[in-house]
């Protein structure tokens, strides 16, 4: 734990003790739902450890925490997907057993999950009709009426007969929210709702949440983004590794002006002393960085007088139904440089990564590596020239879960020396090398023969990084390298990336975490609807420029 993090924990504990505890009654308010000493265990981890929380009507209660803190488990408990091992859940003051999604709905709880749970091939209205008793005829009129009601409540404009697959992610989410509120639910759970939205979509969501709050709905907003937490939250609870690390109640949040609130929240939560005339935006970006354990942006050491290592010109790919294709993407990349690629998920990043790696063919355009045209080659040819690709889909694509760590480490070199001679496998050598690699990279595994699927997410990522960022790497593309990792492993991954850059590797890091990109990148490019909306040099104000580009506006 870094010094900043230790301070954080201490400050939160103080703040909690100074303020009122979560259990004491408040006049005029009642808890729509409450958790009392709830514990949930999974094989190998304790996801929630004696957590007690209350959720009140007309209040947006933010649950804040990093990945693995237990937030999603809490949501699944309330939504009826899992049951607690210990403790109890109270709805409207009475203990309740929520053993199925149906039961959760009957109890007045509506949930909107991180991954859209709509049937893509059905229309909006058909999705909303799902769940009706099989023996009754379709009640389209009644459903339509309710749809109109909720549309005006939420302020949305969606065609009920549109097929879900044709809607934008933001619109799909709106339909999900409608479904969650269908039966006048009193409690609405939103699990990381902004991860797929544009800044405009986030603003819309915020407005919608306030309207619901005014109507008396109790809202639970799960997020790991501090900014959102104190932009939308009336009450903030911090979860860390399955326990409640701290709680900040509405009284304190409300009695301050916006600037004061921001400063005090930081001070109370993180202990950093705010400057008297520091503008909130500038000041807190740096402070945020520090308290999350991040280092300041790297110094720029790239020599741009030499020719570029990688040059991409007018790249375009054919559309396919899953991902956005590329249009006219051009950029250059120098040795030792980290080019960050920012942008809301699904704006062409996947195609970009696959095209550079050789996994996807170009419809148009050309790629040059160290001066020669490599456009025609596929994965084996690219790899030979030193191009490496760390995929975001670690178990689905990056490794074969049932194969050993050792086999996975050589997965992309099957048939090549030194592990293969005339087609015969030298298992001895493969296992020996694997043992060395495991030691060198601190991969936690019982043995090199352990199936890689049994390792934790962080260690699987270490395997991938060890495999790709090897001595012969020239250019490396990393897609969401820290996604789903705990803080410690995130730091490790970022350190390895920076170390590779120092060695002279040219790196492209695709990420949805802007803070992370601001830390390690020399330049940041923004993907928007399959185009490279712009490339920004990292430095003061880079964050804002990038955010503007992400909305589709041109950078000023």
């Amino acid at each position: 734990m870094s010094a900043a993090q230790r301070k954080l924990t201490r400050m939160i504990k103080d703040a909690t003790q100074a303020g009122q505890s979560a259990d004491s009654p408040r006049s005029g308010q009642f808890a729509v739902a409450a958790l009392r000493h709830v514990t949930k265990r999974f094989p190998g981890i304790v996801a929630l450890d004696h957590v007690s929380l209350e959720f009140h009507a007309g209040e947006i209660h933010v649950l804040l925490g990093e990945n693995g803190a237990g937030k999603s488990t809490l949501v699944s408990l309330l939504a009826g997907m899992q049951q607690p091992d210990e403790g109890e859940i109270l709805i409207g003051g009475a203990p309740a057993v929520i053993d199925s999604p149906r039961r959760s709905m009957d109890l007045g709880i509506g949930a909107v999950f991180q991954h859209i749970l709509l049937v893509p091939s059905l229309t909006v209205i058909e999705n909303l009709m799902l769940g009706g008793s099989w023996l009754r005829p379709l009640g389209r009129a009644a459903t339509l009426r309710r749809f109109e009601e909720l549309s005006s409540l939420l302020g949305t404009r969606i065609d009920p007969d549109a097929r879900v697959s044709g809607l934008s992610l933001g619109e799909q989410q709106q339909v999900e929210i409608m479904r969650a509120l269908w039966r006048d639910e009193k409690l609405l759970l939103l699990d990381e709702p902004t991860s797929m939205l544009t800044p405009q979509g986030v603003a819309d969501l915020g407005r919608m949440m306030r309207r619901l709050k005014d109507k008396g709905v109790a809202l639970i907003l799960i997020t790991h983004k501090l900014l959102e937490a104190y932009e939308f939250g009336d009450r903030i609870s911090v979860l860390r590794l399955g326990t409640l690390a701290g709680d900040i109640d509405p009284q304190r949040l409300q009695t301050m002006s916006e600037a004061q609130r921001t400063e005090s929240v930081i001070r109370m939560m993180f202990g950093a002393a705010p400057g008297v005339d520091a503008t909130p935006e500038q000041g807190h970006e740096e402070e945020l960085a520090i308290l999350l354990g991040r280092k300041l942006p790297r110094a720029n050491t790239v020599d741009r007088n030499k020719p570029a290592t990688l040059a991409a010109r007018a790249l375009a790919t054919a559309p396919d139904f899953a991902e956005t294709p590329l249009h006219e993407v051009s950029f250059e990349l120098w040795a030792g440089e980290v080019l960050g690629i920012a942008g809301v998920d699904g704006n062409g990043q996947k195609h970009l990564a696959e095209v550079l790696a050789g996994q996807r063919s170009l419809r148009q355009g050309r790629i040059d590596l160290a001066g020669s045209d490599i456009t025609q080659g596929r994965v084996p040819e690219r790899r030979q020239r030193g191009v490496r690709y760390v995929t975001d889909d670690r178990l689905g694509e990056g490794t074969v879960g049932t194969f050993s760590v050792a086999t996975n480490l050589v997965l992309k070199e099957i048939g090549a020396p030194p592990y293969w001679r005339r087609g015969i496998t030298d298992w001895e050598l493969i296992h020996r090398s694997a043992r060395e690699t495991i030691l060198r990279n601190d991969i936690r595994t019982p043995s090199e023969r352990t199936p890689v699927g049994k390792l934790s997410g962080g260690n699987i990522q270490k395997v991938l990084l060890a495999r790709e960022l090897d001595a012969e790497a020239n250019v490396a593309i990393l897609n969401k390298p820290t996604y789903g990792l705990d803080l410690h492993n995130q730091r490790l991954a970022l350190d390895r990336i920076v170390a590779a850059a120092a060695r002279g590797v040219a790196l492209i890091v695709i990420s949805t975490d802007l803070d992370e990109l601001l830390e390690i990148s020399d330049r940041i490019g923004v993907m928007f609807q399959g185009r490279l909306a712009g490339i920004v040099d990292n430095g003061d104000g880079a964050g804002n420029k990038v955010r503007r580009l992400m909305t589709g506006a041109a950078a000023t």
């Binding site: 997907m81 899992q82 991954h115 749970l117 049937v119 893509p120 799902l130 099989w134 005829p137 379709l138």
Partner: protein, 311 residues
């Protein structure tokens, strides 16, 4: 070649096509229900064969054809029950279980037939025919299409009923959700396992009735292994029909024509060896698959067991 377009040939062809096509139609419709819900029934052939046997046994013992069809349906459902228990409720590999059920049905029905009928090889009397008033008077078409056992007419109504059911009932929506995105169905509060179980049982019933028809009406007797690939054709029909029962009817009719070709040709006085004509349906299937390979769309959740809480 004039013999080809005479009345006897055409009537024989059309009549034979309907008779041969009906089991394929029922099997295809049944499989369509399962596939929609995300279940790949490789054991369809086993369901048909077992239904053929139980149906034959029932009609042989009672003399009633309707009872035979019911018994056939029950037999098919019994096989489907195993799929339900092992694959839907427990998540065992659908392909392995499917192969096991087909091979098992082949073995079991041969065994049973050997024990009961190998010495006697009984035949059933011809099935009762309901000639539709007025319609059966139409030249050629009347005798070809409208002079069959009433089950045929019921099956046409079934095509319409299923078309309506898929798109306009809660059940239809649930089936589509189960095959497309079961997590969404679960989140909407509908039991995915129950939905799929119902689908599989319906498939077993329809396949069993189809098999019983094949034995009782089509052949008039039971011969071990008599379904000879009909179940597989049923799967192909469902795959290519992309969720529309009408296409299953069209496909089944086309294959029915190719199966009925032999007898029809014999009636026309043209002697083409049986084996050549026997190849026809399979050759047609392969041709269709090659031509329309790109168009066969299967639901994304096909063959994958649903476990709540798993991504």
């Amino acid at each position: 070649m004039n013999a080809l377009f005479t009345e006897p040939f055409l009537v024989s062809l059309l009549f034979g096509a309907v008779t041969a096509g009906l089991p394929l139609l029922l099997a295809g419709l049944g499989e369509q229900i399962s596939e929609k819900a995300g279940v790949l029934n490789i054991g369809l052939e086993g369901m048909m064969l077992f239904g053929a046997y139980t149906g034959f046994l029932a009609t042989y013992s009672t003399g009633s054809f309707w009872l035979g069809f019911l018994a056939g349906g029950a037999g098919g459902m019994a096989v489907a029950l195993i799929v339900l228990l092992l694959c839907i409720r427990r998540g065992l590999n659908q392909i392995v279980i499917g192969i096991a059920l087909t091979v098992g049905a082949e073995g079991l029905t041969s065994l049973l037939h050997f024990v009961q009928f190998s010495r006697t090889y009984p035949r059933l009397p011809a099935a009762p025919v309901l000639a539709l008033p007025i319609l059966s008077q139409i030249p050629i078409l009347g005798k070809g299409f409208f002079s069959h056992h009433p089950l045929v007419y019921v099956s046409w109504i079934l095509v319409a009923a299923l078309t309506w059911m898929f798109r306009s009932t809660y059940l239809g929506l649930s089936l589509e959700a189960a095959g497309n995105k079961p997590a969404a169905l679960d989140a909407a509060g509908v039991d995915v396992v129950r939905t799929r179980s119902l689908a599989v049982l319906a498939t077993g019933f329809l396949a069993g009735v189809g098999g019983a028809y094949m034995a009782n009406v089509g052949a008039g007797l039971f011969v071990p292994f008599m379904t000879g690939g009909a179940g597989v054709i049923g799967i192909v029909l469902a795959m290519l029909a992309r969720g529309r029962p009408l296409w299953v009817l069209i496909g089944a009719s086309l294959f029915g024509v190719s199966v009925a070709m032999t007898t029809a040709l014999q009636v026309a006085g043209i002697n083409v060896p049986t084996d050549v004509v026997q190849m026809l349906p399979f050759a047609v299937v392969m041709l269709v698959l090659v031509l329309f390979a790109r168009n066969s769309m299967l639901p994304p959740a096909l063959g994958l067991p649903y476990v709540r809480g798993e991504r």
